[in-house]
């Protein structure tokens, strides 16, 4: 018989304070209360996370891009197959936010009420989180340069992940086979490793002008590629020391269809070939789906459960998230352009403007999003927002490494609005990309941006970075009656 754990007063205080602070923050409309409640809890018991996650079976998702989407797919699949899942779906993925999530999901004595958790974890926070929640599976999606001023460099980020993995020797690693940085984790740790990847080239196969991993991480020689998928991902091999892409255990054999709303692929794993429909578009979501399937099956789930969920998977918090904005048609008097207003009415347009928000935080993600936009079959308007606050990274230099040049040649793109703290820099970037400056409008007021979208006769795509996404998402949610993430259920 297991010894009964002693009741600790500081645990009770930590959990109670955490729940109270979050509740107060949400009721007073001060936002999601994602980090502060956890900080308060840790004041009462530094290691409260260890207590409130005791016995919870956890999957952790980390990496530069795709954390939230991959975790979201996993959470949906687990929930839809009848499990009661704890997840930090707000995107608060540091120690404090994760602590808050577990505290609030525990009873007043600090005993977890849920048995399964899917936790998205910041790369730098993994070394604090992993030793406290003892995950059974750790997924590393990919590694790109991101928010350099917080972490220094990609190699530094990799070292941080490695030190997190070293503190969780029991965890099975689910690694991206095509990412030479990510898969190098397997070289240094004793953990069991499972790989996911694409057995097929994607996009143009030109050698990369900008790459985060050009040289072999083991010996420094330039990699050779049999094919690329995107950014530095691909079938790489070091001609000198032989370090090469591992054969993925969960492999996308072919991409059968790619459309604006999703993709169909054929996957091979466990000796079987299966068709998989993914309800989210673009190549990077194919990777997210493959990562999620690999993690789910490794965790002990039935493949059919996650494949069923992937088909209907909804976009998560700002990631390819859809808003249906009630359209306002300007009267002739209101409109600066009477002809346009008349056209809109005459055309008998839909009552809603479809707005789609695609969070973009680094050059790899940005270039992939632009590639997706350029593949669209109908005309659209584009809003790009760039803030440079702490959660975004103060350094915005990366916009010069993203492929905005493609936008200049994108035939269905009509006009571009730039917004956010660094809107002027974005406008300059677009000028250099070859976009005519008279097609670029600078608008830092979110209310005015909303008005523009409400009056748009075309679908609108919004490409914000993190904090600008939070702000504009709130404006769009208010206008569409969409609930905040903590009210979702």
């Amino acid at each position: 018989m297991m010894a009964k754990k002693p009741l600790r007063l500081n645990t009770i205080l930590a959990v109670a304070s955490c729940k109270c602070v979050r509740s107060i923050l949400r009721h007073t409309g001060k936002g999601g209360g994602t980090a502060l409640p956890g900080k308060v809890a840790m004041k009462f018991q530094k290691d409260v996370l260890e207590t409130v996650s005791d016995g919870v079976d956890c999957i952790v998702v980390t990496g530069t891009n795709g954390k939230t989407t991959t975790a979201n797919i996993l959470e949906s699949a687990l929930t839809e197959s009848g499990r009661n899942v704890l997840a930090n779906k707000s995107g608060a993925n540091l120690l404090s936010g994760i602590t808050a999530e577990f505290c609030c999901a525990a009873d007043w004595l600090g005993r977890p009420k849920k048995k399964v958790a899917v936790i998205e974890c910041d790369e730098g926070a993994l070394k604090q989180v992993a030793p406290r929640i003892h995950p059974r599976v750790i997924v590393v999606t990919n590694l790109f340069r991101d928010q350099l001023d917080r972490y220094g460099e990609v190699m530094n980020t990799l070292a941080q992940i490695r030190s997190g993995v070293e503190k969780a020797p029991q965890a099975t690693l689910v690694l991206n086979a095509e990412d030479s940085l990510v898969s190098s984790l397997a070289l240094d740790v004793p953990n069991r490793v499972v790989y996911f990847g694409l057995n097929t080239p994607v996009g143009d196969q030109k050698p990369r002008e900008i790459s985060d991993a050009l040289h072999c991480i083991r010996c420094g020689t330039e990699y050779q590629y049999r094919y690329y998928t995107y950014a530095h991902l691909g079938d790489f091999v070091c001609p000198k020391c032989g370090y090469h892409r591992a054969k993925p255990d969960f492999a996308v054999q072919s991409i059968d269809r790619m459309e604006a709303d999703g993709s169909r692929v054929t996957m091979k794993f466990g000796g079987e070939t299966r068709p998989v429909a993914i309800g989210l578009p673009a190549v990077y979501n194919i990777y997210n789906a493959a990562a999620a399937i690999a993690a789910y099956v490794t965790f002990g789930g039935e493949p059919s459960e996650i494949i069923r969920s992937l088909k209907g998977v909804h976009s998560s918090f700002g990631r390819m998230e859809k808003f249906e904005l009630p359209r306002k048609i300007m009267t002739r008097a209101e409109s600066g352009n009477p002809a346009a207003a008349a056209d809109a009415t005459a055309a008998g347009m839909n009552a809603v403007v479809p707005v789609r928000m695609i969070l973009v935080k680094n050059p790899a993600g940005c270039s992939q999003t632009i590639a997706y936009l350029c593949g669209l079959a109908e005309d659209f308007q584009l809003v790009i927002c760039l803030n440079d606050r702490t959660a975004d990274g103060h350094d915005i230099s990366w916009i010069w490494d993203a492929d905005y040049e493609k936008l200049a040649a994108c035939s269905h793109l009509r006009e571009i609005w730039v917004s956010g703290d660094r809107a002027e820099e974005l406008r300059l970037r677009l000028k250099y990309a070859g976009v005519k400056t008279n097609r670029i409008h600078l608008e830092k007021d979110n209310a005015k941006l909303l008005a523009m979208m409400q009056e748009s006769s075309l679908p609108v795509f919004v490409m914000p970075n993190y904090t600008s996404m939070l702000a504009l998402r709130k404006v769009l949610s208010d206008a569409t009656g969409k609930k905040a993430f903590w009210e979702k259920q």
Partner: protein, 251 residues
Amino acid sequence: MELNICHLYPEVLNLYGDRGNIRCLEQRLAWRGIDCHVTMLKIGDQADLTKFDLFFVGGGQDFEQEVLLADLGSGKGGEIRAAIEDGKTFLAICGGYQMLGHYYETHEGVKCEYLGAVDFYTKGADVRMIDNYCFTLGQESGGSVVVGFENHSGKTWLGPDVQPLGRIIRGNGNNGEDGTEGCRYRNVFGTYSHGPVLPKNPQFADELLRTALIRKYGKADLAPLDDTVELSAHDAVYRRLMNRFEADERD
């Protein structure tokens, strides 16, 4: 008229949007109808450096900087020193700037020998200097105000015969102590302003082009351009820096 630009080690020294600087130089020449050829010179590539007028060296990751030190040692280092003494124009940023000095000594005391082309050295410190910053270029470099972003833990100390590129208005620059930023030695412009410093500092960009053109042709005719978009990006950062620090001082 034409300029031949050499982008040194673009495959490793490209960490922070550095290609924005090359795009800027190319574009500001193209807008004026001046020809420009950019050559990428990678590790192991051989080329006659005397045919280039303007060199660009960016910043890189520590891991990758080790890879290129071997290449410098194989003879390219000597050619670079010769080009500098020959008055060729260099824009060297962050890691690329440090590389032109005598050495880099890490915080733990490990010394890494660099080119020694310009009389300065760099010592690692325990705090990274990271933020937007601004400085005034010396008169010999045009005297305009440059806004940029610095991200370095190395502190650079200039020798007696090397001028700083400018004087710090807000931020740290070379070492956060003596108010200097970057170096100006012959036609070498070294700076910690990493990434795409040139697009939003058009006067600085033109100063580099003018220096290279004068070295080659004895004169430079740079027609004025419409820099409205450029200067609005410049002014937005400058305003914020000045306001923020005023607010800090009031607190």
